[in-house]
């Protein structure tokens, strides 16, 4: 495994800005309502991830314009997976399904997002920056 390697949780790990992410709206729409776990539990986990790529872009809900998220295209991580900062809002509003391996991983942690050290955040930053 490459140093700093982290894995996507699904569509909501797209690292694009608003304009390019909107190209995946159909893909996202197909996952609406398919999450089989309480969205609040998942969203809390996602919202608790450490901030890695702190892009200063405010994003808007591309499905029904229900919300805006300051820094929505920024990236968070739990040290193993990574996701967009606006992922939690999509999960809360639309129960967007996520990859089963991530669900298994977070369930094993009892949906308590682990702390990520500053050094590990920098490693992940390098990995994500160089993987684009």
């Amino acid at each position: 495994m490459a140093r700093g390697e982290v894995h996507p949780i699904g569509v909501l790990s797209d690292m694009s800005g608003q304009a390019d992410f909107e190209a995946r709206s159909l893909e996202l729409r197909q996952l609406v309502g398919k999450l089989r776990i309480e969205p609040e539990i998942v969203a809390h986990y996602l919202q608790s991830g450490a901030m890695v790529l702190a892009w200063m872009e405010s994003t808007t809900d591309m499905l029904e314009a229900r919300f805006r998220v300051p820094g929505g295209s920024a990236i968070r991580t739990d040290g193993t997976y990574y996701w967009r900062n606006d992922a939690a809002r999509y999960v809360i509003e639309y129960a967007i399904d996520l990859r089963p391996e991530f669900i298994t991983h977070a369930s094993a942690l009892d949906w308590q997002c682990p702390e990520v050290s500053a050094d590990r955040v920098l490693e992940i930053d390098d990995f994500l920056t160089n993987s684009k």
Partner: protein, 447 residues
């Protein structure tokens, strides 16, 4: 943006829409309770006798009152939903008009400059011809008049469109406030119905109807909590849309009334030995949101900060001090090397990375609308003047160049800031952040 251009329309249609959905949800809860009470009042044959007959007769008066409340909450939800849509439309129209006006103004400036140059050229040509005893060549300056007239007309049209968008927003806000007031008068604000309801409920409490009362208590507590939260949301919205401030006050009344219903219902249960006084105490806590709603008018920005607070993971401690709030209520932070607006993790992460190596770092979110960049903090668009005010209020800023940590800054907001401050503003076309190792402004590929 020309100095006399109306600013973008502030406000958050998403927040207003959420409040609308909350009201619709409350209406649905009350309707469900009314249905259940109707079934209980109809009787299932397990409770008979004079007491049962009297209690059922009194109980029959409760559902109609709940129907009235249902209609009121539904009407309030509808008013807010309509306003959210109108606000979003007006914001789009205004943003588009401002962009068009900006383009037309640049064209106008360019055409006028071309005409001035041509006029000078014509004068020189005429002087040369006159000195040579020849006829002067036809003047060329007039050729630019059509361009000037066209650009001026486009500026005027765009300005009128922007004004119309502002008028639409004001009209929609007034309509929403009037509709909320009407909903209040029709039932939400009417306290007599719940007093009557408690009288009916008290008769049930001594028998197996205690379970029904628990239902009333539970739903009323929910109503109180939700209405209290809605009052908070509207109080926040009222900061941006003054006509809605009155509506927020109305919602505080809803929350208080519903909470009182819940408290009295639970008190009745406790007195009859079928409930718990602890529950009464817990219900009393539901009054808290309404009380907060009253405070928020004076302290909206601080409450916004509380409501938006997250666990600050991945964000190092920042040695900053409060720089106050923008007009829209967003928190401003000052450090020796930076000014930041907003209170989310991305803003704070960048603030913690600021070194000031490329100028005074100004950290504020950017958003693209119709390919035009705007500043944004929390969930609201903010005017470049507010950003400039935040910078100038930083005692550590001495007037040097600005390093704009705001996405899409080079697409317009940097130029506007440069015009206001009169200093160079470094910005990028795409998404930006401060590099966590070097503190340098870094741009992402893609959009």
């Amino acid at each position: 943006m020309p100095s006399d251009t109306l600013p973008p329309i502030l406000g958050d249609p998403v927040a207003v829409g959420a409040a609308a959905r909350t009201f619709a949800s409350i209406a649905a809860d009350i309707a469900a309770t009314a249905t259940r009470l109707r079934a209980l009042a109809a009787g299932d044959g397990t409770w008979t006798g004079v007491a049962a007959t009297r209690a059922q007769a009194r109980a029959a008066t409760l559902p109609p009152k709940l129907d009235k409340a249902t209609a009121s909450y539904a009407a309030a939800g509808g008013a807010l939903r309509d306003y959210a849509v109108a606000l979003a439309d007006a914001q789009r129209q205004s943003a588009s008009a401002i962009a068009a006006e900006r383009r037309a103004s640049l064209d106008l400036e360019s055409a006028r400059a071309a005409q001035a140059t041509a006029t000078q050229h014509d004068a020189a040509q005429a002087a040369t011809a006159h000195a040579a005893g020849q006829l002067a060549p036809p003047p060329t300056a007039q050729r630019h008049q059509a361009d000037i007239d066209d650009a001026a007309a486009r500026v005027a049209r765009a300005s009128a469109t922007n004004r119309a968008a502002h008028d639409d927003q004001s009209r929609a806000a007034r309509l929403a406030a009037a509709a909320l007031k009407e909903a209040s008068r029709e039932g939400i604000h009417n306290q007599s119905w719940w007093r009557h309801a408690i009288s009916s409920a008290a008769n049930w409490a001594s028998t197996q109807w205690a379970q029904a009362l628990r239902t009333v208590s539970k739903v009323a507590a929910t109503i109180s909590g939700l209405a209290g939260i809605a009052a908070l949301a509207l109080s926040i919205a009222g900061v941006f849309f003054p006509p809605l401030e009155g509506a927020a006050a109305t919602l505080e009344a809803i929350s208080l009334v519903s909470a009182q219903l819940s408290v009295i219902a639970d008190a009745t249960l406790a007195a009859s030995g079928k409930g718990s006084w602890t529950t009464v105490g817990l219900d009393a806590l539901n009054l808290a949101p309404a009380a907060l709603g009253k405070i928020i008018g004076k302290a909206a920005p601080a409450l916004r900060r509380i409501l938006n607070s997250d666990r600050l993971t991945g964000v190092e401690h920042v040695d900053s001090h409060m720089g106050g709030f923008t007009e829209a209520g967003s928190i401003v932070r000052h450090t020796k090397t930076a000014t930041a607006i907003g209170d989310d993790d991305a803003t704070l992460a960048n603030l913690s990375r600021s070194t000031g190596a490329e100028g005074h770092d100004v950290i504020v979110h950017g958003v693209l609308i119709d390919d035009e960049a705007y500043f944004s903090a929390d969930q609201t668009l903010i005017h470049p003047q507010q950003v400039a005010d935040a910078i100038l209020s930083n005692p550590e800023y001495s007037g040097g160049p600005i390093n704009l940590v705001s996405c899409y800054g080079a697409k317009g907001t940097a130029a506007e800031l440069e015009d206001i401050l009169g200093v160079p503003v470094n910005a990028k076309m795409g998404r930006v952040r401060l590099n966590p190792k070097t503190g340098a402004l870094e741009e992402s590929v893609g959009r």
